[in-house]
């Protein structure tokens, strides 16, 4: 078994883990990050994409609100290409308590969340689809954020500073000598090879999976995985984030992001972050709640549903799950459990990932005798290469002040039109060109799902009917010289279609049900994919059905 050594081994390739890796690397601390799936494979890639203003937490969780408000301003600075400054409304509908409005404003002031009341007429002028029976509107600096792109940008920066980031590397065991954790055994899921990583500190940033990692060191961390279900609707019926002005609840927020509007979320505690289902009642409930904000919401085409698991940390002194705060906590297992060499960073939310990393790395740096201060709040993050052209080569507005570097569908459209690349659109719904798919493949995608996360291939209304076949074929053409075979490609197709099916079944009705039937006609009737089952096998550097990364949905 190969042995490598480093200062800090970060476990978890979500926002928190990559954020910690960047902060460590920036301060010159050697680190290796391992993630069992792709970057953002866990909760980061499965949230609604809201950059919190903090408004949501001003009453119930004021510390979180203040942290969000602070980080909101920083993230807009360091990753403008990942953030669409949509602004946000908190609205009082006829179903909400009128008196909460004044409480909300007072608590915004108290927690430092910028807020301004606007008239209902002004709200309807800006968002005509909203319910005209809304009585009060408060504007806050919510925004939508591309958490895939953000994590890739953070990882890219971390690599440029020397961090070693390894995806599809699963922690098999932590090595404990006496009361000290000294490293980990990690399996490379692509090759099946095991590697030993020796380190001064293990940083457990596994989010909802942090309890499972901690258990390998023999310590107990109680993470209560809180499942949140979301539905993407095929229209941006609003261009502003819309929240119900009430205490946080289910189905009370609509986030316009990229080509869709996401309604979320539910909050159901599940026993295992790898095993959960999406109940039809959850979807129906959210559609009903959506109607309250946007009359006719139900009539829009639902594209897909998915669920993420919040990494809610339950402290030893919290009695009820309901009272678990949304803030984060750094656990020093030496003081807490008598086991040294390991820290866990638990709880928190995407908006505060950078702050979590800063505080965590402050502690690690102190212990490692590193005196450099944190610079992640001021250094602007780089744009990954597969996204580069979509951002860099198009100027949509001649006015630099009006020009946002944020990705939106109009940019690839402008690029496609200026380069006459319409014939090269592999994914027509999301305007993904052959060039961008190939760049994502060359950037090291390990399956079709990785490419989807990178360039949004297959995320539009057709849910991959055309582009999955095309992308799989391109992947084969690009990698067959490196040993990728037809059998590996067939397996990748089976895998992707099945993954997608899980997210589709909860929202199949109307046109989307018809689309699913057309996809059956394509893959079974026209292509005969099911006849290639005997000619499909995992491998070729692709990771598809490894048990370590399988999310088993319970059949609803």
């Amino acid at each position: 078994m190969q042995t490598i050594s480093t200062d800090v081994l970060v476990i978890g390739g979500g926002a928190t883990g990559t954020g910690c890796a960047l902060d460590l690397a920036m301060r010159g601390i050697r680190c290796i990050l391992v993630e069992k799936g792709d970057l953002t494979h866990g909760t980061t890639g499965r949230y609604h994409g809201l950059l919190h203003s903090g408004g949501r937490y001003v009453t119930k969780d004021p510390q979180s609100a203040t942290e969000c408000a602070h980080e909101n301003a920083i993230l807009r600075r360091i990753m403008p290409h990942c953030i669409e400054p949509t602004s946000g409304f908190f609205v009082i509908t006829p179903w909400d308590d009128e008196s909460y409005g004044d409480v909300f404003v007072a608590n915004c002031h108290r927690t430092g969340v910028p807020v301004q009341e606007i008239s209902v007429a002004e709200m309807l002028r800006r968002e005509p689809a909203l319910n005209p029976r809304i009585s009060r509107v408060f504007e806050v600096p919510d925004a939508s954020a591309d958490s895939f792109l953000a994590t890739h940008s953070v990882a890219l920066a971390a690599r440029e500073y020397g961090a070693d980031i390894r995806t599809y590397h699963n922690v098999v065991d932590l090595i404990r000598v006496g009361d000290r954790v000294i490293g980990a055994i990690v399996e490379d899921l692509r090759s099946g090879e095991r590697i030993r990583i020796d380190c001064a500190y293990v940083l457990n940033a596994a989010g909802a999976w942090a309890g499972k990692i901690a258990a390998m060191a023999g310590v107990t961390v109680t993470v209560v995985p809180g499942k949140g279900t979301m539905v993407a609707m095929n229209h941006r019926m609003v261009n502003t984030v819309v929240n119900r002005c009430k205490l946080p609840s289910d189905g009370d927020i609509i986030v316009p992001i990229h080509t869709v509007a996401v309604i979320g979320t539910t909050d159901v505690h599940v026993p295992d972050p790898d095993v959960f289902g999406i109940e039809p009642e959850e979807i129906q409930f959210m559609l009903e709640e959506g109607e309250k904000l946007i009359p006719g919401f139900r009539q829009y085409r639902a594209l897909r549903a998915w669920a993420g698991v919040r990494p809610l940390y339950k402290d030893k002194d919290v009695a009820s799950d309901r009272d678990i705060p949304r803030t984060f906590k750094l656990l020093d297992h030496e003081a807490r459990d008598g086991v040294s060499g390991i820290l866990s960073i638990v709880g928190g939310k995407w908006t505060t990932y950078r702050l979590m990393a800063e505080q965590t790395v402050n502690e690690l740096a102190r212990r490692l005798g590193n005196t450099q201060s944190c610079r992640t709040a001021s250094e602007v993050l780089p744009i990954p290469r597969f996204e580069h052209r979509a951002h860099a080569t198009v100027t949509v507005s001649p006015n630099p002040a009006a020009q946002t570097p944020h990705y939106w569908l109009g940019k690839p459209l402008a690029l496609v039109e200026s380069e006459h690349a319409a014939g090269d659109l592999i994914c027509e719904c999301e305007l993904v060109t052959r060039d961008r798919i190939l760049a994502a493949i060359d950037a090291g995608a390990h399956n079709l799902d990785d490419i989807r996360r990178d360039v949004r291939m297959g995320m539009g209304p057709c849910q991959g009917g055309w582009c999955i076949y095309r992308t799989a074929s391109l992947l084969y053409e690009r990698r067959c010289a490196e040993g990728l075979t037809h059998a590996h490609t067939n397996d990748a197709l089976f895998h992707f279609l099945q993954e997608r099916w899980k997210g589709l079944t909860p929202v199949l009705w109307g046109d989307q049900l018809r689309q699913a039937r057309l996809d059956e006609l394509i893959y079974i009737g026209v292509l005969g994919l099911h006849r290639l089952r005997a000619l499909a096998e995992p491998g070729g550097g692709l990771v598809t059905q490894h048990p370590a990364i399988a999310t088993e949905y319970v059949q609803a």
Binding site: T485, G510, R517
Partner: protein, 412 residues
């Protein structure tokens, strides 16, 4: 007033309309748009997983007395297919094959797909011939996004076929971009484009000694048989088409042939008319209302054929609340018990998804029935994908069931 109005312009609707028109009736086809013909392979699938589909159909009919094949019976199947073949033959686009033996034709993934009849432009791709050991070339233009030779060839090789992939250079054309299957099919109708393509193929054959060449199904829209013949002569090898991702050029050819035949017989076609409700007196349907451009139109006829398809064709539609509705006449549907039973957990599960077997239950004369088994409309016949209790895509009976029931409705 028409003698017969057919609702739906897919394969079943067009063939039923031709059948009625041949009997001298005044016929109108009313449809929201083109049918699923434009999406499918252009082949005639009878039943996929059987060496002898016609014999297997007889077994199936005994086993499932409500299956469309059981309702239609062997005579309607045979005569419907032979009528369709005669129409295609007369249009110089013969369908070759056999009721009692499936062909095995390569797909755009390199799988081998059983089908009973295929246009002559595809027939040289039958796997029994491809396995003779002589080299086969699979080629396409890089500009076409719906067909990828390297993966096709690799999958064919894994199934014992000596296939190689090649990329063709797009012959000079005034068109600069967006080469869809339809665009390329139109280009293939141009002699200069064909000549240049043929020259490239000839060169490849000289170099590689290929006995056959598989190309995407883009070889002409109206004159595919001649295009293939000419390319074969130029290339010095047999040529076969492989269906691409939709839009399907062979499907379009089939539709156009049927359309011309119906018009020749005096029938009319009105597309863009979404039939949304019916009007009846007792159990007689007297009129339907279609909507186009926000204007309602009333149509009357003595007899009706409902050929709107299932979920795929748009004849059956689901609401967010989990109800299924027949879209044209609001006929009672046979559906799975509850939404929880709509889907199998695996997308490619062999048994398919129960929701797609939803449709209209009919009597032995294809008349719609309600839940109690009573005839809803005496003068309506339901054909094709709108029928309940079968899954044409999973069975591989998409065209066969459409033709059989359409011909029954056309002749009765």
């Amino acid at each position: 007033m028409y003698d017969t109005i057919v609702i739906g312009a897919g394969l079943s609707g067009m063939l039923a309309a031709i059948g009625r028109a041949e009997r001298g009736e005044r016929v109108l086809v009313l449809a929201k748009g083109y049918g699923a013909t434009h999406w499918s392979t252009g082949c005639i699938d009878l039943l996929a997983d059987s060496a002898d589909p016609f014999q297997r159909i007889a077994q199936l009919a005994r086993q499932y007395p409500h299956h469309p094949y059981a309702l239609a019976g062997p005579t309607a199947i045979e005569s419907g297919i032979s009528r369709l073949r005669a129409i295609c033959e007369a249009a110089n686009y013969p369908l070759a094959g056999n009721l009692n033996r499936n062909l095995l034709l390569p797909t755009a993934l390199g799988a081998l797909r059983p089908t009973a009849f295929a246009p002559v432009t595809m027939i040289a791709g039958d796997a029994r011939q491809l396995r003779d050991g002589r080299p086969t070339l699979i080629a396409s233009f890089a500009e076409l996004r719906d067909f990828f030779p390297p993966l096709i060839a690799a999958n064919l090789r894994a199934q014992g076929i000596a296939a190689t992939a090649a990329q063709l250079t797009l012959p000079p054309t005034s068109r600069q971009r967006d080469f869809s299957p339809v665009t390329l099919a139109r280009l293939c109708e141009q002699p200069a484009f064909r000549a240049s393509l043929g020259e490239q193929l000839a060169k490849l054959v000289q170099q590689g000694g290929y006995a056959r060449i598989g190309l995407p199904a883009i070889l002409g829209l109206k004159h595919a048989t001649e295009v293939v013949r000419e390319l074969q002569n130029r290339a010095g090898a047999l040529i076969f088409e492989i269906p691409t991702l939709p839009v399907s050029v062979p499907g379009m050819r089939l539709y156009q042939i049927l359309e011309e035949e119906l018009i020749r017989l005096g029938g009319r076609i009105q597309l863009g008319s979404f039939v949304q409700r019916g009007e009846h007196i007792g159990d007689t349907l007297i009129a339907v209302h279609s909507e186009a451009a926000a204007r309602e139109q009333r149509h009357t006829a003595r007899r009706w054929v409902l050929a709107t398809g299932g979920v795929l064709g748009g004849g059956v539609r689901a609401t967010p609340e989990g109800h299924l509705r027949e879209t044209a006449l609001d006929l009672p549907l046979q559906v799975p018990a509850g939404r929880a039973g709509w889907f199998a957990p695996r997308f490619l599960a062999e048994e398919g998804h129960p929701v797609f077997q939803s449709g209209v239950r009919v009597d032995e004369r294809l008349r719609p029935l309600d839940a109690a088994g009573r005839v809803v409309y005496d003068n309506v016949m339901v054909v094709g994908g709108a029928l309940a209790g079968f899954d044409p895509i999973r069975e591989g009976s998409l065209e066969g069931t459409a033709i059989a029931t359409a011909w029954m409705a056309g002749m009765s």
